[in-house]
Structures are given as C-alpha cells and as structure tokens.
Amino acid sequence: MSEPIKVDIWSDVQCPWCFIGKRKFEEGVAQFGGEVEVEYHSFELAPETPVDFDGTPVDYLSDRKGISRGQAEEMIGRVTGIAKSVGLDYDYDHIHQTNTVKAHELLHYAKSKGRQLEMKERLLEAYFLNGEHVGRIPDLADIAAEIGLDREDVVRALASEEFLADVKADVAQAAEYGINGVPFFVIDGKYGVSGAQEASAFANVLATVASEREAVQ
C-alpha cells in the first residue's frame, strides 16, 4: 500500500479565499479518491492588525487600502456570493477583523495534539460564519475547548507564546518557497498550486503524483 500524498497548505484564518479554497480542495480530494495527508501552515496576511481592530471589514478596506466604502461593500458582497456557491454563508456583518497570530499558535498547539484539521475548520467557521473573535486568548481557548482541547492548557500555551516560533518558522518556509499569497498548496513537496482553484485542478495534480509514484514502482 502506497504512502498518502502529503499536501502542505499555507493559509490564514481571515483569508476568504482560504476557506473557499479549502472546500474546493476537499472536493478535489474526493474526486481523486486516493489517500491524502494534509498539514496546515501559518501565513499572516496582515500581521500589523491590532487584536481589537475597532471597525468592520469595510472600515478596514477603506481605511487601509484607500478603497471607497461603496467599492469595499461591493467587493465583500461578491466574495460572499462566491462563498455561497461552495456552501459557505459568510457573515461579514458580524466579522471581527483582528490579528491572527494567536489563532496560528493555536493551530500549532492543536497539531501537537493531533487535532489540527478540526481546529482549522473550527477557526474558519468561527471567523467567517459565526462572528466569533479569533484574536483574543480567552475566545480562542473557548473555541479550542469546544473541540475537546484542554482550555487551561491552551491559555497557558498561548499566553507563554509556546508555539510562536513554529508560526514564524512556517512564515519563513513560505518565503523560501516564494509564496506571497494564500491559500497555497504544496503537493508531494514538488507541485505548487496557488489560490482557490477549481476542484478538478487539485484532483488532476493529485492524480499526476499518483501516476508518477506508480511509474517508479
């Protein structure tokens, strides 16, 4: 029996294309039908964002990017429509724009407990669907406890920055790969797939890797 195909995914918790891309990737894996092992890696899109950013995503886009409020609302409306096309009901009226470094630390904590994939899904749901805060330690600890992690130990790990070095190592590795946007998928350590591709694109590259493995056996 062959080894699962490793897929390393760089992603940020408040990246709308990362959640949409996750759904498309999952559909691609289903189309492929073979075994895949997924590991998420940290990528901070806006590391300078304050934890308690005082404003909405529209405020953020218009203040930071010089986009008019009307354009920002239009952009968000379009992303929401695209999310809906893959079954995700983004709730931008209740999103808390924040700094995601603690969420990334939590993802590494969860990985150390063998629960990273559940944690990733839960954090994306928290941010885009549920209007939960994913930047503050107590909120993150509550979310972690929901998937069965030890709340007190999560608070300890996040407060002591136990996994901050792992977050920074992921960011550094992304730079080594030349990754400047997310989601980004590294498949079998060889193929790079950028962005929220169609499911068939993921299925095709996974099938290519499987064929290459068969050819050398």
Binding site: C15, V182, E198
Partner: protein, 45 residues
Amino acid sequence: MTDASPIPLLIVGDPTAAACVGDFCEIPDHHEQAVVNARLDDDNV
C-alpha cells in the same frame, strides 16, 4: 555562503485563481462569471 533562493516548485493549475496577497484579496473576473452561473442555476433559468 550561498545566496538564498526559493525552493523550486512546479507551479500548476490556473494562474489566475483567487488568492489573498498581503491584506488584499482580489476577485478574478472568472469568479464573477461563476457566481452569475450559480445564480442562473438557482433560478432555474
């Protein structure tokens, strides 16, 4: 000491797929069409 160079990856897939770069998330034109198509499907047009 050697110059740092990116680890080589073979880039595959649609080069225009939507991604977030920095704190900005672009919306490629073909995604707009996908949404229109989905709405048409929903409306049974």
